[in-house]
């Protein structure tokens, strides 16, 4: 038998007062300084001052902010023991809908508005990523490359933060590494390299109806015209939508995509992790969610069909109708909803507003998950104490507790399988499982 040894096993005792204490150490201050310097350089760059030396300013802006953030996060490994880290979530101004949150929301929303409709104002920043774009893609940067660079860095750096915070939970570690990998490789590097090789810029990790125009006749004919690889891309896109999606959703539920692969999910699970508790858990929100998400699914299905009919009859029957459908969808859903509101409102409405209320891909995956899948969240007998951590930290606004306290399993179309309810449960009541597809609703 082991000795009843009360000697502390590790180093936590030495800096115990760190927990909950806001005093910053030297390294943390250094990190924040670098973030500050980088932010200042970003502002200067907007004036065009950096145009003569974009490489230097690239490091001063992107480099300095990234490095500073990493330096700030990494000491947290030794600061506090591994475990659930939600202390002060509802006190912090940025994560509790107070002044900081509104400020941040306005900044992000503003950036999206400029990006989508006034990209000329961002010329100074676009120039910054020119050297990177030339090196990676063999061509000059545009606003979308700038956006991709921001996005990928946000996923990677905030991903490191999540890896540190959730290091006690291997499901979270693997899942976070997965979204970081798919964002960096499939949504950033591969499309860039394809462009360099004079191939179509194609995202292997996005499919119709999320990337809605991948199954539009225009895209298909463009891809197939560009030769062998283009054919493969066209088939890949259709295959992922119609064959892989039902099969993978049957075995793993919606999570194989939404919280392990998808780029929207990647940002929500990394940069959005500190806002997950802001989602609305009310029954009303659930009602609105169902109306909206399925209406948008119908909208994109109808639009796609119209575009194909129009293409088949060479515009003779529908005239400009399908075009106006497609344009309306692109503006309202593609730009306004998924971008401006989807990310801009993170600090106010939580990190999954788009995924929950808007994404037609999530709608399809959810229908499979709800009706025919092995996935469920199992409740552990009568162990629930109704504390509400699970519901609070559900980014999709599912009232997890309402099922758990009845001893019922959770089988909901919207669940993306992030696993956080199971992580924050103080009694170990919830478990994500792939098991028999027949008996999965109730275990009581």
């Amino acid at each position: 038998m082991k000795q009843l040894d009360l000697q502390p096993l590790n180093i936590y005792t030495q800096n115990h007062n760190k927990n909950g204490n806001n005093n910053l150490g030297f390294i943390e201050k250094l990190g924040l300084t670098l973030v500050g310097v980088g932010s200042l350089a970003f502002i200067i760059s907007l004036t065009g001052f950096s145009n003569n030396n974009p490489l230097l300013f690239f490091f001063l802006t992107f480099g300095s902010v990234s490095l500073g953030a990493l330096i700030y996060f990494i000491p947290k490994i030794s600061d506090s023991p591994a475990g659930v880290k939600n202390n002060g979530m509802f006190f912090n101004s940025f994560t509790s809908r107070k002044a900081g949150a509104w400020l941040l929301g306005i900044v992000i929303t503003g950036f999206y508005v400029l990006l989508y409709w006034y990209s000329s104002t961002l010329q100074g920043w676009i120039k910054l990523v020119d050297p990177l774009s030339n090196w990676l893609r063999g061509t000059k940067a545009d606003q979308w490359f700038l956006y991709g660079t921001f996005y990928t860095l946000a996923v990677l750096i905030m991903g490191v933060r999540v890896l540190i915070n959730k290091r006690h939970n291997k499901y979270q570690i693997f899942r976070t590494l997965s979204v970081m990998f798919f964002q960096l490789g499939f949504a950033f590097l591969i499309p860039a390299i394809l462009l360099r090789l004079n191939q179509p810029e194609f995202y292997f990790s996005y499919f119709w109806p999320l990337k809605y125009h991948y199954l539009f006749p225009g895209s298909v004919s463009y891809l197939t015209k560009s030769g062998g690889l283009g054919y493969f891309m066209a088939f890949w896109g259709a295959g992922m939508t119609f064959i892989a999606t039902p099969i993978l959703s049957y075995f793993f539920g919606k999570r194989w995509y939404c919280s392990w692969v998808c780029g929207c999910g990647a940002l929500a699970e990394t940069a959005g992790d500190t806002f997950r508790h802001l989602s609305d858990k009310s029954l009303n929100a659930w009602k609105i969610e169902r109306w909206m998400i399925y209406s948008i699914l119908v909208f994109i299905v109808v639009t796609t069909i119209l575009v194909w009919i129009n293409s088949y009859y060479k515009g003779e029957i529908l005239g400009n109708l399908s075009m106006s459908f497609s344009k309306t969808y692109g503006f309202l859903i593609g730009a306004m909803f998924s971008g401006v509101i989807g990310v801009g409102f993170y600090p106010i409405m939580g990190s999954r507003v788009w995924c929950r209320f808007g994404c037609p891909m999530a709608a399809i995956l959810g229908l499979f998950q709800r009706t025919k899948s092995k996935f469920r969240i199992t409740t552990n007998g009568d162990q629930c104490i109704s504390c509400g951590n699970c519901s609070t930290y559900c980014e999709m606004g599912i009232d997890v507790r309402s099922y758990a306290q009845r001893g019922e399993n959770i089988v909901r179309a919207s669940c993306v399988g992030c696993g956080v309810c199971s992580e924050v449960c103080p009694r170990g009541v919830l478990k994500l499982e792939n098991n028999s597809a027949e008996i999965r609703f109730n275990n009581k």
Binding site: L4, N87, F90, L283
Partner: protein
């Protein structure tokens, strides 16, 4: 229409109301002086630590009560007139009932220590206690917690999360070793100390000392040590909250006395939850107190049947409980006493990290399973319930432990290690794992 009145809107009272509503149309009223709406008491700590807001702790949205025709009164009951079937509230109003359920919960224990009512000294039970704590922590740097139970550890975690240095003063040799076997109590004690919380073992509180401002400034222990502090948390357990009931004709002792049907001595009055004292039906046995979330819920479910005309005996099923000590989760199934009884033996496994362990109590003859404590590993409630019902042996349980595992996917698996240890200690029977689980060992 028959009128059911429930005093107390904790888990026991609310469960009674909900289950009665499922089966009956009678008028239901719940009275509480704590909050209008039901919230989860177990989540009080998370409000203080900033994990949740009060709104998040309400298991039902506010419209739920009206929709289910459960009337809520935010008020305090002053007295019960059992002859007139009527309650008097402190605002002077009278409420008549046909059936009454007492679900008043409990109050923090105080043992008459000098200075126990000083400003800065408090327990942790109600939402009002939480509000008081918010006031008391202002400018506080250190706190003393008297008593090392499940509320004590919650209070310690709460204060620690705000950067306040916490010292436990406990009578026991190891944390909670009046309940836990010493192996488990040592694991918990070590984990607490590692996080920077101090424990004074085998120490009793002698006096709480006031400073010049009249607030607590330090405590004196029976070892004549003076420890400075701005807060003293009193968490040496709870007692039934029966203040105004003692003056009524409802029979009380330390709690509201009830039989196995949760009926009091007055025919139309019942009691559930923390406030009850269940009379022993066998002479020589002691009366029972059941002051857990789970038991409160079970009382409510059973009593609802009785109230709706199907008189049902409360029989506590197979024992289980769970808790969390800072970052380590704990579950227990069956009966684990802090020292094994005659004929009982302990099998103990602890992981190298010192953060996970499994302790099984079994009978020496026949190796039948008695109970289990597990730390840092999640196990399936229903599987253990079945195994205990089927009277499985420790051999069967160790060989099939994988079937009961409830850890999240990709977590490390320890069944093999555990069974090896058992085989090493019991060379006469070489057990083999029956349920092998898929495992990834990269990190």
């Amino acid at each position: 229409m028959e009128h059911l009145v429930i005093i107390g809107n904790g888990i026991a009272g609310v469960t009674t109301a909900r289950y009665v509503r499922k089966k009956s149309d009678m008028k239901i009223t719940i009275i509480s002086s704590e909050t209008k709406y039901f919230f989860s008491r177990t989540a009080l700590m998370y409000i203080f630590m900033g994990h949740m807001k009060y709104e998040n702790t309400k298991p039902y949205e506010d419209w739920f009560w009206e929709k289910n025709r459960i009337d809520l009164i935010f008020g305090k009951v002053n007295s019960i007139d059992t002859d007139k079937n009527s309650l008097k509230l402190d605002d002077g109003k009278n409420i008549n009932y046909d059936k009454l359920v007492i679900a008043t919960g409990s109050v923090s224990n105080k043992f008459g220590w000098p200075g126990q009512d000083l400003p800065g000294v408090q327990g942790l039970y109600s939402i009002q206690d939480l509000e008081l704590l918010e006031k008391n922590v202002k400018d506080a740097k250190s706190a003393i917690i008297i008593g090392g139970g499940l509320i004590g550890i919650e209070l310690a975690e709460m204060l620690h999360s705000r950067g306040i240095h916490v010292t436990f003063v406990i009578r026991e040799k190891l944390f909670w070793d009046n309940i836990l076997p010493k192996e488990d109590a040592a694991l918990v004690s070590r984990h607490i100390i590692e996080q920077g919380i101090d424990i004074k073992f085998e120490t009793n509180l002698k006096e709480i000392v006031a400073g010049d401002d009249g607030r607590v400034k330090s405590i004196l222990t029976d070892k004549d040590e003076e420890i400075k502090c701005e807060i003293v948390g009193l968490t040496p357990g709870v007692s039934p909250n029966i203040g105004f009931i003692k003056d009524s004709k409802v029979e009380t002792n330390r709690g509201v006395l009830v039989n196995d049907f949760l009926e009091t001595n007055i025919p139309n009055i019942f009691a559930v939850g923390d406030c009850i004292e269940i009379k022993a039906d066998v002479e020589g046995e002691r009366n029972r107190f059941e002051q857990l979330w789970y038991t409160g819920r079970m009382h409510g479910e059973v009593l609802a049947k009785t109230i709706c005309g199907n008189r049902t005996k409360y029989e506590r099923g197979i024992w289980f409980n769970s808790a969390k000590f800072l970052d380590i989760e704990y579950q227990t199934y069956g009966f684990v006493r802090n020292t094994p009884r005659e004929g009982e033996k302990i099998f103990y496994w602890v992981h190298d990290s010192g953060k996970k362990s499994l302790l099984i109590v079994f009978n020496e003859t026949g190796f039948s399973f008695v109970g289990l404590n597990v730390f840092g590993i999640r196990l399936r409630h229903k599987v253990f319930e079945r195994w205990i019902e089927e009277n499985k042996s420790i051999h069967y349980i160790l060989e099939n432990l994988g079937e009961a595992n409830f850890d999240p996917e990709f977590f490390d698996k320890h069944e093999e290690e555990i069974i090896e240890k058992f085989n090493f200690e019991n060379p006469q029977n070489q057990l083999k794992l029956k349920t092998k689980r898929f495992s990834i060992r990269i990190l």
